[in-house]
């Protein structure tokens, strides 16, 4: 049994009369610049999106042993993702219940407990308060659950990928993932029975709103020009061997872009792992740097953001039985769908809660 605690009166500022006219801010063909610049919308996103729905937190290979931990964030909330003494994966708030001090300042490690560096309050990695220095000085019962660390009420994994949410009414993770789970499966089943291990990451930061990365994520339209330097580089020995980006040599609207990956035998795995990493390093170095330069310039120039490429052209966009939507790679259909969901989440009265050990 665990105790649950409501967070304020969520959604914090959006209850009762709406703070914004969401239908004006997000229309079918465009989004208003306020959603990329407004402080209060950003703060609401940190509750409604990062909290209100499932967010990827970590991979199980990062905490393989009992008492392993890593520190991460859910939106702006600092978290310690632990595999506790009993092997259960938890997402603890990384703040001491005494004064709010950041409890753990390390990126990763192995520990049965976390002791606050300020006054020495000590917490088990289940989140329970183990003890405080000189407890005689407290009149009340320090075993009251309110002193235990807050933690995400729901943490679920899909094939090793750990997700968390504060939303008690969110669909079970697998239902939430829906058709995308098939694509995740295809990716992971390339090495049947093989283990997926996180091997560090190419990490980027940019001075612009977080959504700009998502507006770019499935955008096949920007590639030919944003990444012209990369395409010219990859095509400089054109004809010798077609590389991945050679797809964009032709009009990308006329070719399907769905890729299916075949599995590989165990023999090839070791070489392919190293080769795959060398391949992975290419785009961050020769492509993402240019994307980031553009994201920052979008933030600087923001007016309305148009996302109507492909909209209103008959038979161009198809919705399939499993809910998957397909469109030419250069269409902004993905962005319109992102924003539909964004708008829905921003207007939903969600039942968010944290949990503490009893």
């Amino acid at each position: 049994m665990t105790s649950r605690q409501k967070i304020g009166e969520p959604p914090i500022r959006l209850g009762g009369t709406a703070l914004y006219d969401w239908d004006y801010l997000v229309q079918e063909d465009r989004a208003h610049r306020l959603i990329y610049t407004d402080r209060e919308i950003f703060e609401a996103e940190m509750t409604q999106i990062f909290g209100g729905t499932w967010t990827y937190l970590a991979h199980e290979s990062e905490i393989t042993k009992v008492n392993d931990f890593i520190t991460r964030r859910l939106g702006l909330r600092p978290l310690i993702i632990v595999r506790d003494a009993e092997g259960k994966i938890r997402a603890l708030y990384n703040r001491c219940t005494h004064r709010g001090t950041t409890l753990c300042r390390f990126d990763k490690g192995n520990s049965k407990s976390f002791q606050c560096p300020y006054h020495g309050w000590n917490f088990l990695n289940t989140g329970r308060l183990r003890g405080v220095p000189w407890p005689d000085g407290y009149a009340g019962d320090m075993r009251d659950p309110k002193y235990n660390l807050a933690q995400l009420p729901r943490v679920e994994s899909y094939r090793g990928f750990i997700f968390g949410t504060l939303n008690l009414e969110a669909l079970p993770l697998t239902e939430h993932l829906g058709a995308i789970a098939t694509v995740i499966d295809e990716w992971l089943d390339r090495n049947p029975g093989g283990k997926v291990v996180v091997c560090e990451a190419n990490r980027f930061r940019f001075k612009a709103n977080w959504k700009l990365a998502y507006d770019n994520s499935c955008d096949g339209y920007h590639v030919a020009y944003s990444h012209r330097s990369l395409l010219e580089t990859e095509n400089r020995f054109a004809g010798e061997n077609a590389k991945g980006m050679a797809y964009y040599r032709n009009s990308p609207d006329t070719q399907p872009m769905y890729m299916r990956y075949n599995s590989i035998g165990a023999d090839g795995v070791r070489d392919i792992n190293a080769l795959r990493m060398r391949t992975q390093e290419g785009f961050p170095n020769f492509g993402e740097v240019d994307d980031i330069a553009n994201f920052e310039q979008i933030q600087r120039g923001l007016m309305a953001v148009y996302m109507h490429r492909g909209l209103g052209i008959p038979d161009r966009i198809k919705t399939h039985d499993d809910g998957t939507i397909t469109a030419p790679a250069t269409d902004e259909a993905f962005m319109r769908e992102h924003f539909k969901e964004w708008k829905r989440l921003m207007q939903t009265r969600t039942n968010l809660a944290i949990r503490r050990e009893p």
């Binding site: 560090e200 990451a201 190419n202 930061r205 330097s229 010798e240 190293a274 990493m277 980031i292």
Partner: protein
Amino acid sequence: VNAPKPLDPSRSSYYVNDTLYRELIADFSDWQNDAQAVTDAAIRDEFRRLVEREARLLDQFRYDDWLAMYAAECVYWVPSTPHSGDPRREIAVMFDDRRRLEDRIYRLRTGFAWSQAPQSRTIRLITNVEAFATARDDSRMLRSNFLISEFWDKETRMLTGWAGHRVVRSGGGWKIAVKQVNLLECDQAIRNLSIIL
């Protein structure tokens, strides 16, 4: 007719194999030992001039001259973890063989590399240059500290860390076989790292 010649390091990554990775890890493990430090001031100065010249060529975007300082089969490596790591198990911030290094320079020269349009201005300070003998007579390891001031998009930022060079004897001088760049912030999210370090 125009088929690439076999074993052309500008055109194929043939030498990035398990042997290279094993040697790389061995060369960059436990090499900064006082017992192997080169103490002869004249020899140390020769290596100091080598890394200073490299810094100047990069600051001046003289990429052809810079590449000419490297061995044919070279590696330019920016690990994503402090203390080297294993590029077979850890993704790197950058890991270029000669082919990709030439791609990197080609891309910067296309005029469409938006992260370098306009180009960064850089000034590199290279200090604390030390040289170490290795088990091989024709090879030395160099350690130097760097501070790169990069002016880009109306701001100057500092990129700092230390570099490990493995140099090999070539003719009367030395060529760089491996440059390992250990950025202080290598395991953090980095904003627009689009220059050559």
